[in-house]
């Protein structure tokens, strides 16, 4: 299956990172979001962001940023996705929103179009079941920042066809990603473990066992991780971490996913991390 026209739903961190990646690899991108201002920001910063990627990847040296701009079509109207070959959603981790989106796209898109969910934790089978094309629904968990992360989790549901898996893996290869194929489960592999780690780090902080920088330093220097749990949480988004923990708890019915009260407080006070420039590090500088 030739995949040229791609649809990206949601112009948040992941959606825009993905749209940028697809453009860099020569795909046509239809990017939609209900918030027009997010689309405008992406369009206005596109040339700068393409140049930024060239700076870190010589592979894109011959790219003419202005040319790529013509391959981007943005809209608040999902109808523009009707000719897309492959759609990847990156909307908020909220079941009702995803359900409504898939039902709508199912009626708009061609019957051959593959639907991929770049979800953090909501099971793919559950998402596939609200469409009339469950065999063409798959999960792809891209990592942030999308253009720089070469490996992704690919999640097949009980209903995903072999053809959809094959097409997805080859499509990913075309955009410079290697997919690791796993079975469906809430949070898959990465977020099932990562969210608990970050949540426990918040408990350690709340209990006064160690400071935020000490906890991060232990992960970086003792384990050799590039970032500690708090730096990771700031990058992902503290609000997203909270939401993902709630989704994991709802789906797995396990209290170990109960969000730490400190995490709730930080998010309630509007600290969402790098995305709104109110990080957990800033929160503690301001409050301690």
């Amino acid at each position: 299956m030739k995949i040229e026209k791609t649809g990206v739903v949601g112009a948040g961190i992941m959606g825009t990172g993905l749209a940028l990646t697809l453009l860099l690899y020569g795909k046509t991108v239809f990017l939609i979001d209900s918030d027009k201002s997010k689309l405008e920001i992406f369009e206005n910063d596109l040339i700068k962001n393409i140049r930024f990627q060239i700076l870190f990847n010589a592979e894109w040296k011959d790219i003419v940023p202005d040319k790529l701009k013509h391959n981007l079509i943005t809209s608040t109207n999902p109808e523009i996705l009707n000719s897309a070959d492959y759609i990847i959603e990156n909307v908020t981790e909220d079941w009702e929103i995803k359900k409504e989106l898939w039902e709508k796209l199912d009626s708009i898109c061609k019957k051959e179009t593959i639907f991929a969910s770049n979800t953090s934790a909501i099971p793919i089978t559950k998402q596939a079941s609200v469409t009339k094309r469950p065999d063409k629904v798959i999960g792809i968990h891209f990592m942030n920042p999308v253009p720089l992360k070469p490996v992704v989790e690919v999640i097949k549901s009980e209903l995903t066809s072999d053809e959809t898996i094959k097409n997805t893996l080859s499509f990913l290869e075309e955009i410079g990603k290697r997919g690791i194929l796993i079975n469906d489960a809430p949070g898959f592999v990465s977020n099932r473990v990562l969210m608990l780690t970050i949540n426990e780090a918040f408990y350690l902080l709340q209990e006064g066992t160690a400071s935020i920088s000490e906890i991060d330093e232990i992960f970086k220097t003792c384990f050799g991780h590039k970032m500690g749990p708090f730096e990771t949480a700031d990058l992902i988004g503290l609000d997203t971490i909270l939401l993902t923990l709630k989704v994991l708890k709802d789906n797995l019915k396990d209290n170990k996913f109960t969000p730490c009260p400190l995490l709730r407080t930080v998010v309630d006070k509007g600290f969402f991390g790098a995305k709104n420039k109110k990080t957990i590090y800033q929160y503690f500088n301001l409050n301690n």
């Binding site: 700068k48 140049r51 060239i54 700076l55 040296k61 003419v64």
Partner: protein
């Protein structure tokens, strides 16, 4: 110190503490700055020095240190 070097150092010092930064130090390797700062340096060279950075010049090596930035600018003048 020449005017160009002074200008480069002034720009960097507005963003980070350069007390311990030697002119030849790799700012990225030594953790003085994160990768996003690289783009700020590119914008500085274009907007404040007036040197266009072409695609082929978009290499981190041109922006790693005060000396590297100076050398790059001089090669374009």
């Amino acid at each position: 110190m020449n005017e160009l070097k002074k200008k480069i150092k002034l720009f960097i010092s507005e963003k980070i503490d350069i007390t311990n930064l030697a002119d030849t130090d790799d700012m990225f390797k030594q953790g003085f700055v994160n990768s996003l700062f690289a783009m700020e340096l590119v914008m500085f060279v274009e907007n404040e020095i007036g040197v266009k950075v072409e695609n082929k010049d978009l290499m981190l090596d041109n922006f790693r240190s005060v000396c590297a930035i100076e050398k790059f600018i001089m090669s374009k003048k």
